[in-house]
């Protein structure tokens, strides 16, 4: 009888240690997955910030970026005009293309509406889509009230080749500065950028330009 009790105890200990090790393994794999997820997030944030840094470096080394005043833009009705006809004063531009993810566009436009709706600084969206129908479709989808123009050509700005939408300011001489990519992982950065620009209401000296 005593022997039987020992055997039962032995099985119970074995069983509980097996269950415990299973739980431990599950927790460890969960922790590994979390670390991997954070690593990926960090890499994405680093990439986004690095894109802005690279853009600034190139901007500093060159004479700055400038858009061509003759650049062709098309409004949602399909009317074609030159860029110089639509820019008359310093304007905050949000650049998005067909390559950008829907959630980035949604988030970017929401921030733009929240932060820049009551500012005196004009806001404009310059997008690059295959057709005006697509531009109208995204206008409907995201309820865009800002002036929006389609530019079939890419800009001569390094950020235009990146996978994230971005903001910048264009002045009367079509010089572009104050670049900021939309960082989905840390929207606070974009939010603060827009807050800073819009609260200054056209006094753009605060960003040192």
């Amino acid at each position: 009888m005593k022997r039987l009790v020992w055997y039962i105890l032995f099985v119970l200990v074995l069983l509980s240690s097996a269950i415990y090790s299973f739980h431990l393994r599950k927790q460890l794999s969960g922790a590994d997955a979390c670390i991997l997820m954070y690593d990926k997030k960090l890499a994405l944030m680093h990439n986004s910030v690095q894109n802005v840094i690279n853009c600034m470096k190139l901007e500093a080394r060159s004479e700055g970026f400038r858009l061509s005043p003759d650049l062709v833009v098309e409004d949602v009705s399909g009317n074609i005009s030159a860029l110089m006809d639509v820019f008359t004063e310093p304007t905050l531009v949000y650049r998005l293309t067909e390559m950008h993810c829907n959630s980035c566009i949604e988030h970017g436009i929401r921030l733009l509406k929240e932060e820049c709706n009551n500012t005196k600084l004009p806001v404009m969206i310059l997008c690059r889509y295959e057709s005006v129908r697509k531009v109208r479709a995204i206008c409907n989808s995201y309820s865009i009230d800002f002036p929006i123009f389609n530019t079939p050509e890419r800009f001569n700005i390094p950020l235009d080749d990146m996978s994230t939408s971005y903001f910048f300011i264009v002045d009367e001489s079509f010089k572009c500065y104050g670049f900021q990519t939309f960082i989905k992982e840390i929207p606070l950065i974009t939010e603060n950028y827009l807050k800073g620009i819009c609260s200054s209401s056209m006094n753009l000296n605060f960003i040192g330009y």
Partner: protein, 386 residues
Amino acid sequence: MKIYLVFLPFYCLMLTVLSACNNCNINNESIQTFVFDASHVGKSFDFSEITDTNYLIIALETSEDFLIGEVDKIELKNNKIIIFDSMSRAVYLFNMDGTRHNRIFNPGRGPGEYMEISSMGASDSVIIIFDNMLRKLMEFDYNGILIREAALSSDIWANDIFFFNDNLYLHVHWGEEEWGNSRLYLLDDIVNQNYRYYLPFDKIPLAIGNKGPSYSVCNENSSLIYSGCDTVFSILSDGNVIPRYVFDFKGRRAMYPSGRIELIFEENEDDRITNIEWISETDRFLFAEIGAVRDVYFFIYDKNRKRGNFYELFNNLNISRYFPFHPRRLSGNQVVLTESMFNMQHLVTVIKDDCKLEGFYDKTKSIVDNGKLEDNPVVFIFNLKN
């Protein structure tokens, strides 16, 4: 003897645990192998050989709230044309004559709303959408009315969803996420979310494809491919998932010596195969597009004749050799193609002299003449011969 009896429950428990871990549902029936030989690739396959002369050309109605950005998925169900468009975050339902029926459009972050439509599946009675951002499934009827919604369980994921035999499947491609590699979930209900999962292969794929998973549904089975895997899996009507076909590229598969997928074109010769881009299947035919570093190959396999071949091009010489005829989207025994109005303008100029299909040119021309460049795409439906 008593001693063995004491250990018996322990052994039973171990056996139960072991069998529960093996949740795969694989039958290794006969697998058909398609050997790819670049020197035997045909010039083009003429679809007029396997399509009959009946066709439908449907100009979809355009209005300010019915503007299609991109056709991500098109299904013909319940006498409706269902178009899922992630760009405009809507599902559009058209009648078979192209007039608008209804749309599912409810973007937002609250109950009954979605941030994005990541994928859509339609059965004969309901349309289900999956929002990747809010991680929820929403069920609508054909009038665009929300029936119910539910957050997706944390241990399931979906890149695409589809219905087969009235069952909802969630298709997940290769990834390093905690959810694991290429999987297929069969969900009993969007609210209860009791699921069976299939992990049809246990090897890490050879290489990562760029199109993610792809599926095709026909009457008898549903076929699946996963990024970087050269096997076509089938869901049979009894629910089993089996490897059905294998593409053998004879060692010409592109590799990733640096481990960086973006360098695939730099690190491989032009003739290397990158992935199976898509598959589509009817009860008689299997179609596929094979991506290579430089070229693209098309594949057709006739199940009745047990013959298949690779081609450089798919076309339909009854229309024109310039008319792109890619049977990626099938509905039963029909090939469904969409063309933008921009392409239609070009099409009418090139098919004018070649077109042998009765009334096809006139119908196309009339759509172009009466439409605008920025109108919604045009849908073409061709019947495959039995």
